[in-house]
Each structure stands twice: as structure tokens, then as C-alpha cells.
Amino acid sequence: MSTLTVDHASRWFGNVVAVNDVTMTVGPGVTGLLGPNGAGKSTLINMMGGFLSPSTGTVTLDGAAIWRNESVYRQIGVVPEREAMYDFLTGREFVVANAELQGLGDAEAQRALATVEMEYAQDRKISTYSKGMRQRVKMASALVHEPSVLLLDEPFNGMDPRQRMQLMDLLRRMGADGRTVLFSSHILEEVEQLASHIEVIVAGRHAASGDFRRIRRLMTDRPHRYLVRSSDDRALAAALIADPSTAGIEVEHGAEGGLRIQAVDFGRFTELLPKVAKERGIRLLTVSPSDESLESVFSYLVAA
């Protein structure tokens, strides 16, 4: 069990601030590092991986500084975003070399190749691999020493849906084993499908942290949208609009009907809705958050 701690870390390149006073703790399980391109995700992962020194602040693994400390790589496995990887080697040679550099051998390399299901192509030159195959061999090279921490920078880039699912399964298993898995992504559904916990980086700043629904709720100054269907939509609408927690209600036309409600105070609204319904004898048929997808959480955060 390992914990990565980023404490008030900033990193700038000349005048450009790539990461701005970020503090976060990444523990066992799968954590998604989410943010648009250029938000500073790679810079942050590079600091966590020991390839970049923080300009200020510290990045530590179980209390030990990561920068200029080779010994942390016994616990950390890194899957870089960049494509370059000794293309003149075969997949097997590459993974064996990585195992040897960890003080291990063929057996561990073979096991890692089996884990990523690349045995069938292990004797082909890496230069002949597709992007997804490269990604899996990179994974194998990071897994040879069974690290307690795995850092992956945009691991799903260029993967087809089947490969994506396989990698997600693998990362989920690793998280369930108690390993600390951190992956970055700018694609919301990837993070939504995989991560139990997310950290959001926007423009170099740590915008939010936690379960993505909880993050959504934390942003109380943002309207939450719900689709509500009930036995008497108009009566319900009239009762709800009287309360300041509701900013707007739209009545849906059509066979199904329903109300599109904008709530501005999440906590109050969630208590109000069942109370009002009970008092008026209205049956609630559907209550669904219509914008709890990560996509909308993200666009709010970016706009903020």
C-alpha cells in the first residue's frame, strides 16, 4: 500500500505556470486525473514520476522525496504518453530489458507480457506494432516488478474499444489488489467508467477532488438539473418554485410529460422534493439528475 503526496507543488517553465500550487493525496485504488489538454496533467504526472522537479512544494511517495531518488522506482511503474520506445527491439526483448533493469529476469518479463496478452506478438519488432500494441507493451514494461504505484499518462490514447476495455479491466484489478493506480485522461467517459476517485486539473490548478458526483454537489453555485416525473407535474412545479432552492422549472410536453428543474441549492432541494411531494400527496415516478455525467461536471469546472 503506497500513497503519493503532492504538497503545494508548482511547476513553471520560464514565464508559463504549468502546475499551480497543487495539493493532493493519491492512495490505493484507481484515481483518474482529469483535465483538458494542456491543463498540466502530464507535468503533474512527470513530477509524480520523478522526471521533473517541482519549482516549489514537494512530491513524495510514502514520505520519501521522488525527485532525484532512483530507489522509488522499485515501487513505481511508469507508462509514459510518448511513443518512442526502442523500436528496433522485439516486444519481448524490450520487456526483458526493463525486467533486467529492475534486477529481474525472463520469467517476470514473460508474466508481464501474459498479463497484457501480448505473447502472440512478442517476437515481432516494436516498430511493426499498432498504437494499442505499443501501449500494452509499455504496460508490460511498467508491470514487470509488480509496482505498488502505477502512473499512466493518457493510457487509452489510440486504443480500440476492445483494447480499452481490456486495459480498464486490468487497471481495475490492480486497484482492487490495493495498488495505487493513477491515470490521466481528457476523455470523460474513460474516467467515469474506471476511476472510483477523480482529481480535476484545470489550467494548472487543482479544481476538484473526490467522487465525481460529490464534486458536482460541492459546486453549489452551479445549477443542478433534474428530470422529475410525477402523478401531478404542475402541482409539484408550483410547490417547488415557491422555494428559493429552485431557480427554474420547465414543463415537458409530450406523452411522458415531466418537469425539467434547475436547482441552485443541491442539499436543500434534495430534502425539499420528497417533502413537498409527500405533503401534497403527489407520487414521484422518476427523479433523475439530467446532467450528472462527467461531461457536464467538467464543462462547469472549465467554465468556472
Binding site: F13, A18, N37, G38, A39, G40, K41, S42, T43, I45, N46, G49, G50, F51, L52, S53, R68, E70, S71, V72, Y73, R74, I76, G77, V78, P80, E81, R82, A84, M85, Y86, F88, L89, A97, N98, E100, L101, Q102, G103, S141, A142, D153
Partner: protein
Amino acid sequence: MYNPTVARLTYRALLGRRRALILFALPALLILIAAAVRAFNGADDQVAADVLGGFALATMVPLIGVIAGTGAIGPEIDDGSIVYLLSKPVKRPEIIFTKLIVAIAVTMVFSAVPTLIAGFVLNGNGQQVAVAYTVAALVASIAYSALFLLLGTVSRHAVVIGLVYALVWETLFGSLIEGARTLSVQQWALALAEKVTGDSLISSDVSLPTAVTLLAAVTVGATWFAGRKLRTLTLAGEE
């Protein structure tokens, strides 16, 4: 200090690239020139010394040093694949030392060996000219490898800077400016060659003790500094 895995990767990267063709072309050219000179001119000690000094030591050895020295690490830093070495519990100086050994070995094989062959072709090692220049090439290989390995670690333009150093500084300024010769790997190597022949055929502007001191200082200093630079090598993201 020597890591066989790093060495294997470095050898394969060095000899697998298109650039490696120059490693074969230059020695082939030297031997060809030597054969032609011998055929047209017969065996002449002075001519042998001129060819080995003017082409082998002054041009071929530094060029091969640039290719092997910068090529042992530069491309990996450029394309980012060095991350697979750096994300391992391997000491940075160990990586540099291993790459230095590989660069020296490659430079020696592709410069000293053909120099010896060319020397024998030219005048059958008369007055020890072939052996003297081979010793010079061996010694220069070590210093050039260390210098250019450092260059490959600190600069993305290592090949260009290396070529400018090898051709402009060593060849041009070396022949024009007195002081530049003291700071020339070629002159240091010549000081050793001079000692081997013990004859007026080869002369260096630098005394033997100075040459040996500077050779050792440059090799050790460059290697130490490269190890230090690699420890703090920053891999910027692609953002």
C-alpha cells in the same frame, strides 16, 4: 558500475541506425586512400605519417567520436525513450559510465583498428608510424567519447556542436591559433604518438605530462558532469 542491459541497448541503438553507415564508410575510405597512396607512391614514412595524421587522427577519429559519443545517449533523450532507463532503480552515473564504455569501444573499433590497418598498408609500420597513430587514435577515442557523450546529454544540437568542434576547432583553429592547439584532443593524442615513434615524423605542441593530465581531466570531468546532468534531466511533457 557497468550495466550489461544498458550496454546492450546502447550498442543496438548505435549500430542499428542509419548514422552507423558512416561508422563503416569512414574507415573504408581511409583504407582505400592508404591503398591508393601505397600503389601510386610506394612506401614512404613521411607520407604515411601525413595520411594518418591528416585524415585518420584529425578527421576520422573525431567524426566517429561524435557519432558514437552523441549517438550513445542523444537520440534517447531526444525521443524520450530514455524514460525507460530513468524509471528504474539504476544509478544515473552507472548509466553514463556504461554508455561511455560503449562509445569508447565503438570509437576504438571503428577508428583505431582501421588506422592500424591503414598504417600497415601505407608503409608496413615503418618507424612505428602505424602503431604510434593507433595509440593516438585509442587515446583520442576515450577523450572524444567522454566529451561527446556529455554533449549528447546536455544539448539537443549535440551532433552539430560536435561536428563544429571536431572540424572547425580541431582542424581549422588548431592550425591557425597557437593556444587552440593546447586545448585540442588531437594534440594530446599526438603527444603520445610522438613518444611511441621517438622520431621527428610526429610532433605535438603539447608536452606529454600536460597531454596525459588534460586527457585524464577531460575524460573524468566530462563523465562526472554527464552523470550529474542525467540525475536532473527534465523530461517535459508533450503539453
